[in-house]
């Protein structure tokens, strides 16, 4: 495996990966598969094992079971080979406040033995060139995140591992970060693995997702395919809510009343919305609002979490 990215090799592959702290398994039986060129959103609530997994991927923790391969390199045995292909952003504050942005990048550049021109390249990528000579202590959180991303991009990594890159960013910062991340596979052929709590952001950014629950990977696959598992919802607001609920129940739905209107889950066909509307009108109910809500990552997330809780 030389310079070019090997599409036949997975960017990340874990087999039965587990990490135990004392008697507690933080992560167990993890089989991640991230193909080259993907933007993989890694989801899960706090304590689900996301950060532990990321630390295992970066070789910061040793697995208690299983293995991690980065572009085919076993991280436990050949950490340096794997690390040469990987850039990471773990913590936005992990910069030296007393140095300028450029000096921070230059420190990492020197350790990686890269030519000086790489600094300007990554600064441009994250739109930070004009702030590069300012002390990092004066940076906003968003600027620190972008500097962290620039640092992760030094050395033209083939895989970028980002832990909560949107954390603490304002809307403009989120938009800018999203644009950079979405562009990376296209412009630089970089595979991106990112964890985030902001599901709407992951939905807009990722091509594939993996969902962690209690240290286990409970869902993994292409975003578009997984979202098909979630039924769209129909929100209905009428002049007679009690009668609407009765009618919907009689039609076999389980309406959820939020005080303003009711929400029902539709089957696979959107045409159900039109049929339901017709039924309501025929029953003499005035329909004020009828909104079809498409499947969201949040709905998928909640569906899986609920299913997992029921299993537990």
């Amino acid at each position: 495996m030389d310079s070019g990215r090997d599409y036949a090799t997975k960017a990340i592959e874990t087999n039965g990966l587990g990490k135990r702290f004392g008697s507690q398994w933080a992560v167990s039986g993890l089989n991640l598969e991230v193909a080259a060129g993907q933007i993989y959103g890694f989801l899960g609530r706090n304590g689900a094992g996301k950060t532990t997994t990321i630390r295992l991927l970066l070789g910061l923790l040793r697995p208690s079971s299983g293995s991690v391969r980065i572009f085919g390199h076993d991280v436990s045995r050949h950490r340096l080979s794997a690390a040469r292909l990987t850039g990471s952003l773990m913590e936005a504050r992990a910069t030296y406040d007393n140095l300028t942005g450029r000096e921070n990048l230059d420190s990492t550049r020197r350790l990686l033995k890269l030519p000086a021109r790489h600094i300007d390249r990554v600064l441009e990528m994250v739109a930070m060139s004009q702030f590069a000579d300012r002390r990092v202590g004066h940076y906003s959180l968003g600027m620190r995140q972008r500097l962290g991303l620039a640092r992760a991009l030094l050395g033209t990594p083939q895989l970028l591992i980002l832990d909560e890159p949107m954390n603490g960013l304002d809307p403009d910062g989120i938009r800018a970060m999203r644009a950079v991340i979405r562009d990376l596979p296209i412009s630089s052929g970089v595979t991106v693995f990112l964890s985030s709590h902001i599901l709407s952001e992951v939905q807009q950014t990722a091509t594939h997702i993996g969902l962690m629950h209690d240290g286990r990977l409970v869902l993994q696959g292409p975003m578009s395919e997984l979202l098909q598992q979630v039924s769209p919802e129909l929100f209905i607001r009428t002049t007679n809510l009690p009668l609407t609920i009765k009618l919907l129940q009689a039609s076999g739905y389980q309406p959820v009343n939020d005080g303003v209107g009711v929400c029902i889950k539709l089957g696979s066909s959107d045409a159900e919305a039109a049929v339901t509307n017709k039924k309501l009108v025929e029953a003499g109910i005035d329909v004020i609002e009828l909104t079809l809500r498409q499947a969201t990552l949040e709905a998928l997330y909640l569906q899986v979490q609920t299913a997992e809780k029921q299993v537990a």
Binding site: L60, L80, R84, E91, Y96, E103
Partner: protein
């Protein structure tokens, strides 16, 4: 390794580490000046012995404690270890470079102290010529004392650095440093205390020359062995 050293030295720019390295020896030099003014006229030999003894007795151990904590907090504070240890570089190089930087900073403080002693003498000649220690300024003796103290302090410095890096909180390192200094101050007179790392620097100016030689050997050897163990341990442990 030169690159690693450059990077580590640059991290000190504008940091409290440099302030500490400047202030700590200066305090001792100022105190020596005050002692010279208040005491009957001494010889330079006695003044040098007193000044370097003051440095090695408790200022150096306390400064070394603070230095280890401040250097470690450069990475602990912003949680920069993860970034550093995930880089495709051999981890031992990072820790070795940091250890060398700390050793060189302690050495620099000793050099600065020596220069400031001379400055105190020159200022005294201008302001209070009758209070200036008699005889010629003993450059060789001063170099011998301060150089030996530097060597003898390496064991103590590496122990403190190890603890400061191992724990994210500064409390364990501070506790170790204060305890060591307390032992050094309280039990200095006892013969066996030469084996305590915090007593080794001040043993250089002890009346018994064999004790000074032993302290220097123990300090250098202990410092080298401790630094190797520290690098091995920290490079292997999970971040």
């Amino acid at each position: 390794m030169l690159t690693n050293l450059f990077v580590e030295f640059r991290k000190l720019k504008g940091s409290l580490v440099l302030v500490l390295c400047l202030v700590a020896p200066s305090l001792v030099a100022v105190l020596l000046g005050v002692i010279c003014v208040r005491q009957p006229v001494m010889t330079w030999h006695d003044a040098m012995q007193g000044g370097t003894g003051l440095w090695a007795y408790f200022v150096m151990p306390l400064t070394t404690t603070a230095l280890g904590i401040l250097v470690a907090q450069i990475e602990h504070g912003p949680r920069a270890w993860d970034h550093l240890l995930a880089l495709p570089i051999q981890r031992w190089r990072l820790f070795a470079a940091k250890g060398i930087v700390v050793m060189l900073l302690i050495g620099s403080m000793c050099v600065l102290l020596g220069l400031e002693f001379r400055l105190v003498g020159l200022l005294g000649q201008e302001l209070l010529p009758r209070k200036v220690p008699t005889g010629t300024f003993p450059w060789a003796l001063q170099a011998k004392y301060l150089g030996s103290m530097w060597g003898a302090s390496l064991f103590m410095a590496m122990l403190e650095l190890w603890v400061a890096w191992r724990y994210r909180s500064f409390v364990p390192a501070l506790t170790l440093g204060l305890s060591g200094t307390f032992f050094a101050v309280a039990a200095f007179g006892a013969k066996e205390t030469v084996y305590i790392p915090w007593v080794m620097p001040v043993s250089i100016v002890a009346g018994d020359p064999s004790r000074a030689v032993l302290a220097l050997r123990l300090g250098v050897a202990g410092g080298m062995i401790t630094s190797l163990l520290m690098i091995w341990h920290l490079s292997r442990r999970e971040a």
